[in-house]
């Protein structure tokens, strides 16, 4: 409250004695003159006040040029006043600071964004073909309200990235000249990755889910190349990528270009893989490429059967173990065993990328063996519970009989 009054007083004096006001807050000198023009600049200043730039002292003239210290030539083009920067100038303007190692060192942030941007599709279109329709720095980071990427309100916060990219890439009008689809954002939101990012999958960390930038790159935004798909997915799914490279699929991919990861799992709308993929003719199913009755499809059917059985027995094992909890027993060890068995199944799922049923079967057999042990223990405990209940009935009956006898005795004493 007091501060506000102080500010108003200063503003009042500022009108009379601009020099005093400049000493207090430089921003004010731009605002004083511009506030009368329209609301736009006030809004821009408000936005800027919330930005990271304000807190590190980057102010209006740093981007817009000009000299706010002198009333006369504040907006003199000769003195370097830029006004609204041209779109094609923006990357270089930002880079004037952000590519400067000396300046960026104190903030401990990288300086290669401009170089990466220049190599990107966005960058080449803008800088080489002069296409001002493409994304520049401000398209993603905002104009005045630029926030740190760790700030949840930032447009480049990991959870906001899909919407930020989608702002342009879902716009049919904007994408028309390039002939690329506009349904990526919707697809991504439906995908398993998207579901994790938006916190809809329990037990998965949203911060670890890939957003657009994780596959397409951040500043060097470029569509992943054919060979690179495995590399891109393999960045996180390294084990799966390794198994894939062992498989006949990889040889085929090198020769004829398919199947890549996205051919079976799709690209933006990635769903959690299921054993259903082994059968059927739809997109992403084995039958989409392989003919009915061919050896690969028979192998796929065999694998599906293997998995179907084991997945059921894992669920059964878990149910059995939870059932015996009523015995008051500590079942941590058994649950750990179940987790291990389930881990083996998960491992087996990645091993299916080798297309080698022998390797898959070996893992699944181990898993089944572990599950059998668990279910043996569960059975023993269930038997034990049954015995407990029978023994309980016996002893309670005995106690009741004795109580009745004692009551009879008590009566005989009373009426003696």
């Amino acid at each position: 409250m007091g501060k506000l009054i102080l500010k108003r007083v200063l503003l009042f004096f500022g009108l009379l004695l601009p020099v005093i006001a400049f000493a207090e807050e430089t921003e004010i000198s731009c605002v004083i003159c511009h506030s009368g023009l329209s609301g736009e600049i006030v809004a821009a200043v408000d936005q800027w006040k919330r930005s990271i730039h304000k807190s590190v002292g980057v102010s209006c003239p740093d981007c817009h040029g000009g000299n706010p210290d002198s009333m006369e030539n504040a907006m003199d083009k000769k003195a370097g006043f830029r006004g609204r920067p041209k779109i094609e100038d923006i990357p270089a303007l930002c880079a004037s600071c952000h590519a400067d190692v000396q300046k960026m060192r104190q903030y401990n942030i990288r300086v290669d964004q401009y170089a990466e941007y220049k190599s990107s599709v966005h960058g080449t279109l803008l800088l080489k073909k002069g296409d001002t329709n493409v994304a520049t720095c401000v398209s993603c980071h905002g104009k005045h309200e630029i926030r740190k990427k760790g700030d949840p309100l930032s447009t480049v916060y990991y959870a906001n990235v899909p919407e930020t990219c989608g702002k342009c890439h879902s716009d049919k009008q904007k994408m028309k000249p390039y002939g690329i689809p506009t349904d990526q954002l919707d697809d991504y939101k439906k995908s398993y990755h998207g579901q994790i990012l938006y916190g809809k999958i329990k037990g998965k960390n949203p911060a670890l889910a890939p957003n657009c930038a994780d596959c397409h790159g951040i500043h060097g935004a470029t569509p992943p190349g054919v060979e690179e798909v495995v590399n891109v997915c393999g960045n996180c799914h390294s084990k799966t990528a390794g198994y894939y490279r062992e498989s006949p699929h990889y040889l085929a991919m090198q020769e004829i270009g398919v199947p890549r990861c996205v051919d079976c799992h799709s690209n933006h709308n990635i769903q959690f893989p299921s054993v259903e993929m082994f059968t059927g003719k739809g997109e992403g199913r084995c039958g989409a490429c392989h003919e009915e009755g061919s050896l690969p499809l028979e192998t796929a059917k065999e694998m599906k059967e293997l998995f179907g059985k084991v997945i059921i027995s894992v669920e059964e094992g878990e149910r059995e173990v939870k059932e015996i909890r009523s015995s008051g027993r500590n079942i941590d060890e058994l649950l750990l065993d179940i987790d291990e068995a389930r881990g083996m199944v998960t491992e087996a799922i990645t091993v299916t990328h080798t297309l080698d049923p022998v390797k898959v079967k070996k893992l699944l057999d181990d898993s089944v063996k572990r599950l059998d042990e668990i279910s043996y223990v569960a059975k023993e405990v269930r038997k034990d519970i049954k015995i407990r209940h029978i023994a309980f009935l016996g002893i309670i009956t005995l106690i009741l009989i004795i109580v009745i006898l004692l009551l009879l005795k008590l009566r005989s004493l009373k009426y003696l």
């Binding site: 008051g328 027993r329 407990r388 209940h389 002893i395 106690i399 008590l410 004493l413 009373k414």
Partner: protein
């Protein structure tokens, strides 16, 4: 002598002892039933570096626990007030019950002939039950 006893009461042995044995068997049956069908809780091993949520004491300390929580409303008296009043207040209540025979010195035994003590007792029992239930559900 025999007539005298009948008027005074019943013999400790065997009558009273028999009753005690019957009650004992009853209690034994009850405890075996409870132990068979509601096993003692197991929980997970203590981890001094992670406090579980909704930590609560055993049910018979819930009333005291709830009183401590209620005493937190007294923080307008200062930061020292809630805990001190909560703990000392309970100590005071226990001390009063402890030394009850020396506070309530009247020789009258009928509950309805000593209304103050009886009312206080009923209030005490009721508030113990309410606080316990409240502590359980809060």
């Amino acid at each position: 002598m025999g007539k005298d006893e009948e008027i005074k009461g019943e013999p400790f042995f065997p009558n009273h002892v028999l009753k005690e044995i019957i009650i004992f068997l009853f209690i034994l049956g009850l405890i075996i039933t409870l132990a068979t069908f509601i096993p003692a809780p197991m929980g997970s091993k203590a981890d001094p570096f992670s406090t579980p949520e909704h930590i609560k004491p055993e049910w018979y300390f819930l009333a005291g626990y709830q009183l401590l929580k209620l005493a937190e409303k007294l923080d307008f008296l200062g930061a020292w007030a809630p805990k001190l009043i909560g703990v000392l207040g309970q100590g005071f209540i226990v001390a009063i019950i402890f030394f009850l025979p020396f506070i309530d010195r009247g020789s009258e035994r009928y509950p309805h002939k000593r209304p103050i003590v009886t009312t206080l007792g009923i209030l005490g029992v009721v508030s113990f039950i309410i606080l316990t239930v409240w502590g359980h559900y809060s």
